[in-house]
Symmetry: C2
Subunit: 335 residues, 2 copies
């Protein structure tokens, strides 16, 4: 199927027997600048020819593409569609389109994605960062493209960029205190060290700190390079009679691994041990008698990030550069 010759504004003008200016005016709603007959005629020709103005040509003149670039670390994580949904809610009514790229948790890939979107001249950028090297974002700063960083933690926020995350420390600390009060003496965190920007990091640090303060034991299990059998083994090995243990997966995918490991190990909660997890997906209530959760509001993060971005685009600089969305405590029966 040979791509048919593209229909241009010139073509429309020729067929309608008017100048390109008139057609352009029509496209841009400047109806006052032509007679009603001309208007109808142009409209009809556009219809007949199924003419679609080229946004490439348009944006080349207008310096605006109405495209927002989004880079996530891992597209298959449920985080992505939730974020996207939130973003769409505020961006779509404003007529922006979203270009979604996945960096696959690879810093180099992320840099390539940034370049790609910059070449597209996107009007703004939303990034869930995989790397925290300030230089990675330098091209963005140079180009002057509005930027909002979501979820991940970066060492140095580029000038004029906004940052939207969920609360990690307060909620984690509160959970540690709760575990202490409930009589737990040991916490087994389950995480996977991927990017230095991962929100698991502050959570892990908080657990470590709080455990020390509360005189609880803390064992950090890192899934990196390991499988569920290893996790099952490690969890079982972490149990001591007389010392209540709570397993604490620090992100959704780790809850999956943990549940599989518990099945493998033949352990059940809350009898053999307690279970509480970070997770963004609302399915915990169906597991057992309900899993105790710390749940982020990703949709809200998306909305706030979108609004922040719009503000930067419109005013030229963010009003507030750091926004933290509260994490919800979902009660269950797994502790």
């Amino acid at each position: 199927m040979a791509k048919r010759r593209t229909i241009t504004i010139k073509e429309v003008a020729r067929v309608a027997g008017v100048s390109v200016t008139t057609v352009s005016n029509y496209l841009n709603g400047q109806m006052a600048r032509m007679s009603p007959e001309t208007r109808d005629k142009v409209g009809k020709v556009i219809e007949d020819l199924h003419y679609q103005p080229s946004s490439a040509a348009q944006s080349m003149r207008s310096n605006s593409t109405k495209i927002i670039g989004v880079i996530v670390g891992d597209i298959s994580n449920v985080f992505s569609p939730l974020l996207f949904g939130g973003l769409q809610k505020v961006l779509k009514p404003r007529n922006y389109s979203l270009m979604l790229l996945s960096a696959d948790n690879d810093p180099d890939d992320e840099s390539r994605c940034i370049g790609k979107l910059l070449r597209q001249h996107v009007d703004g950028l939303i990034i869930q960062p995989t790397q925290d090297e300030p230089e990675a974002f330098y091209p963005i700063t140079v180009s002057g493209t509005p930027l909002v960083i979501v979820d991940g933690i970066v060492r140095a926020l580029p000038r004029n960029a906004a940052h939207v995350t969920s609360d990690n420390t307060t909620s984690t600390a509160a959970m540690c205190r709760e575990l202490h009060e409930r009589g737990y003496g040991r916490i087994l965190t389950v995480s996977e060290s991927t990017a230095p920007t991962s929100s698991q990091m502050p959570r892990l640090r908080t657990v470590a700190g709080c455990a020390a303060d509360l005189h609880m034991e803390h064992v950090a299990l890192d899934m990196r390079g390991h499988d569920d059998a290893w996790l099952a083994e490690s969890i079982r090995g972490g149990l001591t009679p007389g010392l209540r243990t709570a397993v604490f997966p620090l992100m959704g995918p780790m809850l999956f691994h943990t549940l599989d490991a518990l099945m493998l190990a033949g352990l059940s909660f809350p009898d053999d041990l307690g279970l509480v997890s970070f997770d963004d997906w609302n399915w915990g209530r169906f597991i057992g008698h309900g899993v105790d959760l710390l749940q982020r509001d990703i949709d809200e993060i998306g909305r706030l990030a979108g609004e922040s971005l719009l503000r930067i685009i419109e005013t030229g600089s963010p009003e507030r550069s750091e926004i933290s969305v509260p994490t919800k405590r979902i009660a269950g029966h797994s502790l």
Copy 2:
């Protein structure tokens, strides 16, 4: 923050003291057409200036954007990231970017999305259709843009478009027979009539047909306009002592509703009734003692759709226009 003046190829040429032609040659890897000194100098200037060639200008000449447009019915459905992941696997290595739009299950919105992507001159289109009016896709055909329709069922497939779906009828029919063999006498389907293109439709028809053939009762519960309490009521009302009943949600979100309804109704499976569901997400094993499922391989659908699209783009027409991906039967303990 005023968007800094864009750096152009002209600028680079001026600073490097060469012509734009030379810079262009450099960008396109035509290194043979310049001296090594020139090459290095140009490279350095590009680096220093953080120059990014404008893809709008490039695509205006080349007639290729290296962008694939994707339209899904509902971005918040887990279907979306899974499809996207599959698409990325084949498209990203070929240097295509994805532009994702959600039609929010609205035909008009879908048409708008199509227009938007056509104006972007995307190199190809992947659509999970919300409407099955053949005219809706006419602009695509006119523009000659390669098209692959995924998941949904359309009345008339546009000429030269490919179609990738999962098997709905065979798997559903097999399930009905299994239910019959297991001694079930009544099937309660749970669906939500949204789009006429929804894959729930063939599933529903198949259940109705098989139930009749096997002399089983079939009650179709349509969630449209109802809440979980209504569903709980309806399910309870659908039980008769002596006649084994199976609830059969026809898509993932309906499984959520059904589980909530069962909790509300105080019914448990497989004791009070059987439960089997279509669902694309792999969490069913954590529910109760595991839910019996019919699971599509969305990642595979994405990969096949991507490959199909590439084939259309490259050869000009699809080799095989209808592809059906088998649906997996995940064994559980809910029947």
